[in-house]
């Protein structure tokens, strides 16, 4: 088992290298120039060249890439061009809000999606199933920022029970932390819940048709127990996959949601950095996102051996 985990860990290295190369070339091929953004509209060409020189941006690309990867390998993500602060520090400041958003969203997504999916599977092809599935498809079909505005309009303006925007760290009170996260998380969770509901339903239907469920039925277990006990356990493999895939979905959504709700998280940090061509920040954050994605998928892959009921029931 340990050998397998190690092999899988080693296998992630080329992935990270590909990400690093892609990200670096993307940022450096981009036409914008951070020095020009800094110097402002009225700078002379000479002034811009001086700023570029001080930032080390006038050196050959390969040299820049070499230096950057050398530093990354030593755990140094570099210094933000604009804020003149370490990228690692910026990420540390921003990770709290994004993590909070992700956690609350996953909780919302699971607690809406799994019951809905189970409901749909148990009542397959009947009214509850159809209602759930239509809602789920609708969940995919609304652009996330439209949904966010509707939620603000509904629960913060017309019926003001929740704050409009902002983020409060948990240290300043659990309730104010949660209060500010409810609307943004709901906006994000709807797509996520739709995805989970569909997966749960499909997986559950698959499992309910399997032989060992019939055996369980023959053993005299009640249908409800069958659903919860065996079927859902079996269905947890595809569900786990979807949770993993959903992380990528969350990142995309976070970019939008953090902008709408003024949450100072990693998504906004990235978009801001792209708009201003703050290379070290773009590189650092995307590398981080990719690392997390790879790691989560690794964990999920490893968890299959534990989760797969067909192994267990065999």
């Amino acid at each position: 088992m340990l050998g397998y985990v190690l092999r899988r860990l080693v296998a992630t290295i080329p992935v990270i290298i590909v990400v690093a190369v892609v990200v670096f070339s993307l940022t450096r091929l981009t036409p914008g120039d951070p020095a020009a953004v800094i110097a402002g509209e009225n700078a002379t060409t000479e002034q811009i060249a001086l700023i570029r020189n001080r930032l080390g941006l006038d050196q050959p690309l390969l040299v820049q890439f070499g230096r950057w990867s050398w530093n990354i390998a030593h755990g140094d993500l570099g210094v933000s061009i604009f804020t003149n602060t370490p990228v690692a520090g910026l990420i540390a400041q921003r990770i709290g809000p994004t993590l909070s958003l992700a956690i609350v969203t996953v909780i919302f997504g699971l607690s809406l999606g799994i019951p809905a999916g189970v409901l749909a599977a148990v009542f397959a092809r009947r009214l509850p199933d159809r209602v759930v599935m239509v809602l789920a498809v609708a969940g995919f079909s609304i652009p996330i920022f439209v949904l966010a505005y509707l939620l603000i309009l509904g629960f913060a303006i017309s019926w003001p029970i929740l704050p409009v925007q902002g983020y409060t760290p948990m240290a300043q009170g659990f309730l104010s932390w949660l209060g500010k996260l409810i609307l943004p998380s709901l906006a994000l969770a709807l797509v996520y819940a739709a995805l989970i509901a569909r997966t749960t339903r499909a997986a559950l239907l698959d499992v309910l048709a399997e032989d060992y469920i019939r055996t369980a039925k023959a053993k005299g277990l009640l249908p409800r127990e069958i659903v919860w006990l065996h079927a859902l356990k079996a269905a947890s493999v595809p569900i786990a996959t979807v949770v993993g895939i959903g992380i990528a979905l969350l990142v995309g959504g976070a970019v939008v949601i953090e902008t709408v709700f003024a949450i100072p998280g990693l998504g906004r940090l990235t978009v801001d950095a792209i708009a201003r061509r703050d290379f070290p920040v773009i590189q650092g954050v995307i590398l981080l996102f990719s690392g997390v994605y790879v790691l989560i998928n690794l964990v999920i892959d490893l968890s299959y051996t534990w989760l797969d009921p067909r192994v267990r029931f065999a």
Binding site: V18, L26, V137, F140, I157, L205, I274
Partner: protein, 289 residues
Amino acid sequence: MTTALALEEDTPPRRRAAWRRHPTVAIGLIILAAVCVMAIVAPWLATLDPTALSPAKRLRPPSPEFWFGTDMMGRDVWSRTVYGARVSVITGLSVAALATTIGLVLGLLAGFDRTVDAVLMRIMDGLMAIPAILLAIALMALTRASLGNVIIAIVIAEVPRVVRLARGIVLTLRDATFVEAATASGTGFFGVLFRHILPNAVAPLVVQSTYIAASAMITEAILSFIGAGVPSSTPSWGNMMAEGRTVFQVAPQLVLFPGLCLSATVLAINMLGDGLRDMLDPRLARRVK
């Protein structure tokens, strides 16, 4: 960002005539057909030039002259909505077609050649690890904003998932008994490819491509929201909503109408995809009985 992805891997599909049992397919097709017609006959449906500015008439509410009102530049929202169908349809169709084709070719290569597989899949894994939206934003920053570039950016972000799916299909089929039998009986490589592999790959790929089309339309809107989408001289539902969102409390029609159109279209495609999957997936079909 593909939403319902990867659920229909390893399905050896058999076609079944089941249209009548799948009303969602019919509804989806009808809505889609309507949108396509709207896109094609846009010049006749539109009452005004969708790009003509009349700054003096900005942010008008809906009226007989401006059916859906006007936007922040005094452009006619009805005409822009009608023309906007073109961008969404083009985006959805071309992304789906391109991503599926490229993904299929690469997936086949990876499925049949171990060396290609090793290199290609590492690259695909790397691309997939970068959040699709961030990849698309970065690609858009790289190029000039235009519909073509938006399509390319979304395709690049979608391709890795198709490659995985196609490769998975090839790997499963390659070792399947009927393919082994064919190879043993002397059928050549291309024979196996065209007679056995491709026909069986079509169904899951078609289903997948509907989801890609749906997600591409949503991604186009998100790119516009972030300011990296189709330029507003070409009206798209995405850039209309993105421009109008800042005034949604004053002029909700700017977000509402394109939003409704986009949601309805994406909904229709997703319904079509779900229906197709049910039709083409024998396991699901079996369950339905």
